[in-house]
Subunit: 472 residues, 2 copies
């Protein structure tokens, strides 16, 4: 009769250990198809365990299909291919190294952490977790009504944007919202990608097998002539603050783009208002959505910039026609943001905390920007640089007089612990005129390190261009 | 000279009101292209405001492209198309009515709310929000290392699944993970949808313009012969607990499917282990992932079932080859789950709370299931029904002897406040043999209402089949 030494089982329950032993023998071929297993009673006596133990082990083996009961006869092994019982221990993968720790990082969009509203959010989350049992239910496709109402009220009060909460769809980040928009607008469309611009969206189009074209951006934004020439249908733009040039699209170009969109059904404008809250002089620029009378603009915005990148809450505002289509074809999707997070954010907005938080952050960022510009002005290379588009958003441009090419500058800076990025990285086919324009993301940097960082940058720019470029 | 009555401005800042007035005149055509605006000083005197007010208003108009400064001359109106200044007030949309409130809902997968760990989660979230400043940084594509480690340790300790934390990708729900898998595996694949099965996934394939086939499920699961015949590449299955039939796929069929996958590169098995934690007799069924030696299984699971649907945290485990491809082509994506939520869940798992929560819920659901089955056994229609597949998961099947067709039963029940669903709804082309099999989702129901619900169901089944079906 089958014999197993049950002493080695450690803390595994007896029946489960027995099940593992028999399973292993079946998978290794020791027990072959058609073989009859001992009767429960005699097997139990033999192993000195209870009949219940054998019964439970057999039941598990039956449930998984290793053996079958035959009425009035007993249990038989099923025909099964032999294989190693448990996968060989997998070699440990090493985690990909964390991003190199830079002395100062001018590329990554970190936020300024000094002002994060820990206490308020903790309290609101506690309320969400304890008070709202409705939050335990499945979520609607478009998100929590409380949050959509809070956003609509906020947009009306502080941005002059009038939308119904119904038009708002909440999603876990703008990248996700793009993939939903693609599904909504359809695969027959040709998408336009701004050049220079936010090229991640081109990678999303690529991954989804969509047709897209790079369209040049001039001083006023996307060129309408090129849009027509390339027969594009859907454009993705940030008219309030173009990324990375920082250009504000003038009203005339906005009108031209809306006219272009209205000329043909199926043409749409995705307006990504990603950092419109941070305008340091004057008022926020009104979005194109406000002058869209034909339902051509899909407006989107995110709380990643205003609260923290780790807060994955974005939203889009759909024109009515698209909203109806969304409900019909995509209403089965669950909303991707936790109900608790949505409730917390709704309270954060409704309680006025969000507006106060933005104002505080705007002041902080203004000071930070001034400090960075001041450090540049005082640097040894002050007369070799020109600062542009610094009145809005969390980055500005700095044109540098240098013979070093952008890629070389990035490498030299990296050796000095500085992370830089250049306009040319955001271009599909950069021309020589686009070189030497640094995109300065300052929101997350430690300003105490600026003087030292400026010294290091100066040493790079001062080095003999010719020798350095030859050595690398 | 231009004159505006600035008294009506309410609480709008003076400069902003002036900007609105001029903008409105430009958009309405009152001020035409080329027209020169009054000089700042004389306009300020005329309106009895400070020069700074006019300067700020002009600056905003310049920023938005309505006017342009001409050196040593003044400000001129740009050529702009006239249009209504602000969109007419939008008609309010009415929120789509909430789902009808049913007396008892046997269809929706609610959770049992009695045991939700409010206090523990609140405490852990407070820790996340206050202690971990690293959580304010942008998220990696695959999620927080802490959570991936917690999941890997949990899977090893409680499920016997050995994976590296590196292989885990966190995402905001399984629907989202499907769309990522589609992008990863490519658009040239043919996808198989189980019939009966989880047909939402077919709608996702449809929205993404992918080719897919419905493949029949027999008593052991997806038919390998049909898979070969239909030339499919990727299958999505729940071998541990098929939805909705509840069938456990026997080891033999698992081996056949793995063999099928290994025969051709590009073939993959998506194993959705959505409610494997809730097995009421014996041990959890080991996943196919454990016997996959060729890297063909993409395992996925969710915390929506085990904690709450509103907790949008799911994960997938990628085989090494796909992991490398994912990093290369899709590593630019941000993870879609809030860093705070990930940290909270990591602590919940590491602290042993998750395991204890599952055990508590399993007991609760077992009692709930027994109560439902007991109520059915005691009902007047006990001898007309047969209960099937009730040892696992949060639903079971009930075959009803009736002449009423499924759609009619659903309508009649709805009138009585009962929400029912039938196996036939989960089938692409149901046959008469598939009729009258109710899918009983019991996890969220109020058991106190069961006796009354059984009376109502009995009255429907007792009613003369012929007259009722004629009347509707």
């Amino acid at each position: 009769m089958l014999t197993y030494s049950l002493e080695k089982r450690g803390s595994t329950p007896l029946y489960h250990y027995l099940y593992e032993c028999i399973k292993s023998d079946i998978l290794s071929g020791t027990l072959v198809a058609g073989e009859k297993l001992p009767s429960k009673r005699s097997f139990a006596q033999h192993l000195r365990v209870s009949v219940m133990t054998v019964e439970n082990a057999y039941a598990q083996l039956v449930a998984e299909g290793y053996i079958r009961p035959v009425e009035k006869s007993g249990y038989y092994v099923n025909p099964i291919e032999t294989m190693p019982t448990s996968g060989a221990q997998l070699p440990e993968l090493t985690e990909t190294g964390r991003a190199q720790a830079f002395f100062l990082d001018f590329k990554t969009n970190h936020i300024c952490k000094e002002n994060f509203p820990h206490a308020t959010l903790s309290r609101l989350m506690r309320e969400a977790l304890s008070e709202k049992t409705g939050l335990l239910d499945p979520l609607q496709y478009n998100g929590l009504a409380e949050l959509r109402h809070a956003i609509a009220s906020y947009l009306l009060a502080f941005r002059g944007i009038r939308v119904s909460p119904e038009q708002i769809v909440i999603g876990a980040g703008t990248e996700l919202l793009y993939t939903l928009i693609i599904q909504l607008l359809g695969r027959d469309k040709i998408y336009a990608v701004e050049d220079p611009g936010f090229h991640k969206i081109a990678r999303i189009y690529e991954l989804n097998g969509l047709r897209f074209r790079y369209i040049d951006v001039d001083r006023a934004g996307l060129s309408v002539d090129l849009l027509r020439k390339e027969e594009t249908d859907v454009i993705h733009i940030s008219p309030t603050h173009h990324y990375p040039t920082g250009i504000v699209m003038p009203i005339r170009r906005r009108q031209e783009l809306l006219k272009w969109a209205s000329e043909k059904s199926g043409r749409y404008i995705i307006e990504d208002d990603y950092d419109s809250e941070f305008r340091f002089s004057g008022h926020p620029i009104p979005p194109m959505l406000n002058i869209d009378t034909e339902g051509k603009v899909i407006y989107m915005n995110t709380f990643s910039k205003t609260i923290a990148p780790a807060v994955r809450i974005s939203y889009m505002i759909l024109p009515r026609e698209l909203l109806a289509r969304y409900r019909e074809t995509m209403g089965f999707y669950s909303c991707t943001v936790s109900g608790f997070d949505q409730y917390m954010l709704a309270k954060f907005i409704d309680g006025g905390y969000f507006e106060r938080h933005i104002n505080r952050m705007k002041n902080l960022y203004r000071i930070k920007r001034d400090t960075v510009i001041d450090a540049i002005d005082k640097s040894p290379f002050a007369d070799r640089v020109k600062i542009m588009e610094e009145h809005a958003g969390l980055h500005f441009l700095m044109r540098i007089q240098t013979k070093l090419d952008d890629a070389l500058l990035v490498r030299l800076a990296e050796k000095e612990g500085l992370r830089l990025s250049f306009l040319s990285e955001y271009m599909h086919a950069p021309t020589p005129e686009d070189a030497h324009v640094m995109v300065v993301n300052y929101s997350g940097i430690d300003t105490a390190r600026l003087p030292e960082a400026m010294r290091r940058l100066a040493s790079i720019l001062d080095g003999s261009d010719d020798t350095k470029s030859e050595n690398l």
